[in-house]
């Protein structure tokens, strides 16, 4: 069992990341050709302060989207964990719809909804909040909305899996000892769902960090993200070396984050109430 799994990892994770890393240390020749000369140049460029605003923007958008996914996803997953049989399957299918619709179809739909003639504009006019048609495209909110739309299932599924696994008797035991509904949730259900929260946050935050479609379609130059920067290096500028260096930095950033979390977990930072 282990051997095929490690082969899989090697082929689809280690090799691509390693080749990116290697590419990042090579020199870009004329017309984007690769010269096999070792250089730090690409990484030095990638760490230039002029890219710092893009980095910070990406982290803040990804963070906001992840938080929104958590706030929206937790009640949804909680609700789902009480469903059974056909009903639950139906809800899970509904939840997966963003996965199944083509990205482009979904994005164009959002463009229509958010645009000047769109649903939101109409709705706000009706409610008298705005007086003339307005477009929401190009705003940070639109980009974050796109991220939330695409990555919500990544949050809900691990949350659902964690919540569904919590035995009902734990909640019953809490009620039995006098805890009302809210207290039983706060002291038992929520702490026990922490592994799901962690998994959901990671699974949402990581792809959000690399996303470029949302900013491409719903954003503007003001909402340019690292994903767009990297995409441009590969597809427009043909500077694969610089793109690889940027990508490697992002991967390094994420790995550091995960490792730090792991260390904290080992030390029991996320556990118990710590009350004496």
């Amino acid at each position: 069992m282990l051997a095929p799994a490690s082969l899989w990892l090697l082929a689809f994770l280690i090799l691509p990341v390693a080749s990116l890393l290697i590419l990042g240390f090579t020199h870009r020749g004329a017309f984007g050709a690769c010269e096999w000369v070792f250089t730090w140049d690409n990484f030095r460029r990638a760490m230039d302060v002029k890219y710092l605003p893009i980095m910070l923007r990406t982290v803040s958008y990804a963070g906001t989207a992840t938080l929104l996914c958590l706030l929206l996803g937790y009640p949804l997953a909680y609700f789902l964990s009480f469903q059974a049989g056909k009903r639950r399957d139906l809800f899970l299918v509904l939840l997966m719809i963003p996965f199944w619709t083509s990205c482009l179809v979904a994005l164009y739909s959002w463009i229509i909804i958010l645009g000047r003639e769109g649903l939101i504009s109409h709705l706000l006019m009706r409610l008298g909040i705005i007086s003339k048609p307005a477009s929401f495209l190009g705003t940070p909110a639109a980009v974050i909305l796109g991220l939330v739309y695409f990555y919500l299932p990544f949050m809900v599924l691990p949350l659902y899996a964690a919540l569904e696994k919590i035995p009902r008797t734990y909640v019953e035991a809490a009620h039995d000892l006098g805890a009302g509904k809210f207290e039983a949730f706060r002291k038992v259900t929520f702490p026990l769902s922490m592994p799901g929260v962690m998994a959901g946050v990671i699974l949402t935050f990581v792809p959000c960090m690399g996303d470029f479609l949302s900013a491409d379609f719903l954003g503007s130059p003001r909402t340019y993200l690292v994903g767009n920067l990297i995409q441009n290096q590969f597809l427009m500028v043909q500077d694969w070396q610089f793109g690889s260096a940027l990508t490697s930095l992002i991967v390094l950033f994420l790995i550091t984050g995960l490792w730090a979390r792991h260390i904290f977990e080992e030390q029991g930072v996320f556990e118990g109430e710590g009350e004496e």
Binding site: P167, T169, Y170, E172, A173, A174, H175, D176, L177, G178, A179, G180, E183, A184, K187, V188, P191, L192, M194, E271, G272, E273, E275, E276
Partner: protein
């Protein structure tokens, strides 16, 4: 309050009225169905303060469901639950002064031992100092002092059992519900814990409702036993009552096994009953207790295996007053220092085989197919209502 509910109670059960002080808990006329299956079909009983009451019955007879209705996790379709005279039928579990020791402990895995035991006390918002003394006290009671900081997932079954007990006792409920608390422990630990539980219950004076399907456990621990069968109560009584004076053949067989023979009461004169057994043999013997059926009707005759004494041809019959039945030794099974013998009676019916135990000293005399006599003392013959439904 005994007056107010007496009419419904009489309808629902044949139990005597609770003492005028009022029982701690009264369950009256509980009916509960899951989907189409009726799991509890009219159950009433009461628990006095400080009493150890056991719900005993085979698997699936509705013991857990009854307990869950008392705790408030399940709502009865019909019937009421009174706690200290108050109707708590529709109250949620967190507003009932009742704690539960769950069958699989249900210890919170994200808390250590101290936090588990302190859970209910923190909900009650007791001052920290008091929580600490209470937890120490109750951990001491279950012999787990010094384990406060341990994770519950790192403890043995017996220890988890004690923590679950400590957690339920810490809030000092007036009634504790225990659902097969010793079910997952090995036999030796079980016996130890039985004694300990009983001692703790006596010491604290808390009423226990204890669920088990082990009749030895029930006999050893209970003040009174409620025998369940198919969602109904077959009998309520002290351990010796249900053992010696079972009301139904189910109780007779469940409380320490019994041979159930079909019979017909064909005569009753001068304190002597005349019974035809298995449509074959007629026996006559004095019987002092009230008869379960009228003359001429079918009944059940229950005889406990350990009360049958097997006699070989030529042995002296049992001294005193007994009934002797001819039989064939059909099979013997050795059970440590005892031998279980299966006796075939009654030529016409192949189904009836009485089992009896024989002491080791007779071991070498056994040979299958030997004709023997089975002597049964008059007072060991139990006459019961015929099996219903």
């Amino acid at each position: 309050m005994a007056d107010a509910s007496s009419s419904t109670q009489e309808l629902a059960s044949k139990e005597p009225k609770p003492p005028s002080a009022g029982p701690l808990l009264e369950v009256s006329g509980i009916v509960k169905s899951f989907g189409r299956t009726k799991v509890i079909a009219g159950v009433s009983f009461h628990v006095a303060a400080g009493e150890f009451l056991t719900l005993l019955g085979p698997s699936g007879c509705g013991k857990t469901t009854t307990l869950r209705i008392i705790a408030g996790f399940e709502q009865a379709d019909k019937g009421r639950v009174f706690l200290k005279g108050e109707d708590v039928t529709t109250r949620p579990p967190y507003l009932r002064d009742v704690h539960t020791v769950f069958q699989h402990y249900a210890l919170f895995p994200h808390y250590n031992v101290f936090d588990n035991v302190a859970f209910g006390l923190r909900i009650q918002k007791l001052p920290k100092r008091q929580i600490k003394t209470r937890v120490t006290e109750v951990l001491d009671l279950v012999k787990l002092s010094g384990y406060e900081k341990r994770r519950t997932t790192e403890m043995s079954g017996g220890q988890m059992q004690r923590i679950a007990l400590a957690r339920a006792l810490a809030g000092r409920p007036s009634l504790l519900l225990l659902d097969e608390p010793l079910g997952a422990l090995d036999l030796k630990l079980r016996r130890e814990m039985q004694l300990e539980l009983k001692a703790i219950q006596r010491r604290l004076g808390i009423a226990f409702i204890y669920v088990t399907h082990d009749q030895d456990e029930a006999m050893a621990m209970s003040d009174r036993i409620v025998v369940f069968h198919h969602g109904r109560i077959e009998q309520i009584g002290t351990p010796s009552e249900v053992y010696r004076k079972p009301k139904t053949s189910f109780v007779a067989d469940f409380m320490g096994s019994a041979n159930i023979l079909s019979g017909r009461l064909i005569g009753f004169k001068d304190g002597c009953v005349r019974i035809r057994l298995e449509d074959e043999v007629e026996v006559e013997f004095p019987y002092a207790d009230p008869l379960p059926v009228a003359q001429g009707q079918a009944l059940c005759v229950a005889i406990r295996p350990e009360r049958i004494s097997v006699r070989y041809e030529g042995d002296l019959p049992l001294r005193g007053s007994c009934v002797s039945l001819p039989a064939i030794l059909a099979d013997t099974v050795s059970l440590g220092d005892e031998t279980q013998m299966f006796l075939a009676f009654f030529k016409n019916s192949t189904k009836t085989v009485l089992s009896a135990t024989m002491e080791a000293r007779h071991q070498n005399e056994r040979r299958d197919g030997t004709p023997v006599w089975a002597d049964i003392r008059w007072r060991d013959i139990l006459l019961l209502e015929p099996e219903g439904e």
